[in-house]
Amino acid sequence: MPSLKYLRVRINSVKATQKITSAMKMVAASKLRRAQEQAEAARPYAQRMDRMVSSIAQTVAENENAPTLLRGTASDETHLLVIATSDRGLCGGFNASIVRAVRARISELEADKKTVKLFIIGRKGRDQLRREFGTQFVETRDGPGSSGPRYADAVAIAHTLITLFDSKEFDVCSVVYNEFKTAMTQVVTFQQLIPFAQRIGDQIDLDGAIYEFEPDEDAILDKLLPQNIGVQIYHAFLENGASEQGARMMAMDNATRNAGDMIDKLTLTYNRTRQAMITKELIEIVSGAEAL
């Protein structure tokens, strides 16, 4: 039987934990709202960018001189996975689910005799994948800071990717992130960045009309494609940001509830123990008096 003092200390410590988790839940909820707003605000640009690239891609697709960013290197030997995770933990299965999906993907690709390289964003992903795949890391970066993802960061990453691509470090590149559905569900998503992949169902009917380009297709494409990669990465960041806060909110909600249950249980034990002690003392007094 634990002592009363031990139980009292235990109850107080669980209460303190509960306060922290419920505060974290509320913080996550308000951050989630901001992240969602940010994601929604960025959607028009991504959509229109996608529409532009798709419409050019349709006109240029048959062209043999199309840039390799659009066409690919005609091989798919080396895959680069850009893995977006978070810097902080305590967000339920958020990072674990990405890592699990990546692990499955890597073994799938390696079974096909492909080489896999990893570009990791976020401290958690780095820590969890380092032991197994540390030798395949191309680069690691910290995730977006507390101010939320910035477009400039995404562009910097896109720039690095293109430099790597130009130096023939990889043939195919995709980004892995958690797509935000609701606060409760996030779906691990693989989005191909290089070569450009049209999103399914996004075929645009141009009615046979042909765009005029100024200066010309190639010059625009040369600028548009890198920009598009930046936008896609930014999109992944925003989705990830909202997902992370959603996952954290749910995790902290559960933790707060569990702490509540635990406090109830401990309080019950505490009261029982206290009563048992009182009873015991009474019995001792009574039997002591009877013995006289």
């Binding site: 605000a41 640009y45 765009y211 005029e212 380009f213 100024e214 200066p215 548009l224 930046g230």
Partner: protein, 135 residues
């Protein structure tokens, strides 16, 4: 045919402007071009400069863009801008500060340091100042 063009200006962070206009003049890579309703399908790069939105005979808005792309269809003119500010809200002092900051950054940079970022920003700053002066 619609008698107005749907003008949309979007930055990576958000949708900035979405309104009807009689004519939009965009600083294209190979010179300014005006967009009227019923324009042919057209895609162009955008250089740093001022977008002028006409309603009636007068310019209702002047917006500075730091470059990007413009897509024109019969009904729409969409500009994807990397950075955009309404010229009415720009303060000259901050633009001048931006230019001198960048000039300083370039002058103190090591020879092997990559200064393209500063140079780009400097170019944008100068174009912005020019746009302010032209107003």
């Amino acid at each position: 045919m619609a008698d107005k063009v749907e003008f949309e200006l979007v930055s990576p962070e958000r949708l900035l402007v979405s309104e009807g206009a009689d004519m939009v003049v965009v600083p294209g890579e190979e010179g300014d071009f005006g967009v009227l309703p019923g324009h042919a399908l057209f895609l162009s790069g955008v250089r740093p400069g001022t977008i002028e939105v006409y309603n009636g005979e007068t310019i209702s808005d002047r917006i500075f863009v730091a470059g990007g792309f413009a897509e024109v269809t019969g009904e729409r003119c969409t500009v994807l801008a990397e950075e955009a500010v309404n010229l009415a809200e720009v303060e000259r002092v901050s633009v001048e500060a931006r230019i001198s900051d960048n000039e300083q950054a370039i002058s103190v940079a090591n020879p092997d340091e990559d200064v393209t970022e500063y140079e780009n920003d400097l170019r944008i700053g100068r174009a912005l100042l020019e746009a302010l002066d032209a107003q």
